[in-house]
Point group: C2
Chain length 154, copies 2
Amino acid sequence: MRLTTKGRYAVTAMLDLALHADRGPISLADISKRQEISLSYLEQLFSKLRQNALVNSVRGPGGGYRLSRGADQIFVAQIIDAVNESIDATNCGGAGNCQKGQVCLTHYLWCDLSEQIHQFLSGISLASLVERQEVKSVSERQEAQDKEQNLHLI
Amino acid sequence: MRLTTKGRYAVTAMLDLALHADRGPISLADISKRQEISLSYLEQLFSKLRQNALVNSVRGPGGGYRLSRGADQIFVAQIIDAVNESIDATNCGGAGNCQKGQVCLTHYLWCDLSEQIHQFLSGISLASLVERQEVKSVSERQEAQDKEQNLHLI
DNA sequence: CTAATAGTTGAGTAAAATACTCAGTTATAT
DNA sequence: ATATAACTGAGTATTTTACTCAACTATTAG
């Protein structure tokens, strides 16, 4: 099953973008600090997110990334599909050649499951996550920690 | 996400048991041949399946494994839970200490997803899989191949 | 009784996937 | 000019997974 830290990081980073959409382009360095994801790793992920037209980039000082469209038009499934190959619970990658070129005993079960997961995550937009109370409070906590760190630097 | 070949093999092997329940105890060697799963690996898996009271074992010649109860009383989720630690889409394993001891931004999303998957697989019994036409036809194909191989041995 | 069968256990290993780093390049604002 | 920050590709360390091996125990058939 293709749902790993990579996909989770990507969704987290995209949600961070959605939460700070009003601040103009957000740099990966900022996301890296807030979400504790390695900058280099984020660069890799955003390369794919950009290829899949989920974000736009702005280069140079003050630059960063923006969502390519409204947070209500971006869905979790799209993000995971962008960084992983796909959400797929089968062993054969959906090809159906699991046993000597033919389908194995449980092939259709895993197909059904993949479909189920995909539908679930296709129904969840970034906007709907932003609205959630738990997300709001975690985000506020992160903002507070962010300011605190900045004070120490002065 | 904890859904790998291990869990898939376990479900496949259990389904094999369910399909051949009328033949008395089924040896791992038989399952190994039919489902093309390494015997040593099956031994590992069945150790856990036995610990979780999903199968009973019969030692000695003519021995093997049997489902511990009716195929309508064993569900896919139970099998996967038995061999993997659990079906869990979070990074923290559900602990909620994903970011500096507190929950990360997307923690609840992954919790919801885990719940979703678990419910789906909890609703699918081995009996319901046995009834499926696709499973029947794959099983018949396997039986045919089995007989063919035995002929060659004589 | 003894030989063969088949489950039981634990330790160990090879391969693959994952997560992550590094070193550079390019574009742009100030 | 210079600093910033996106972009790219190659490379590596770690972890997980899948699998093997070797020994042991219980049971049954002959």
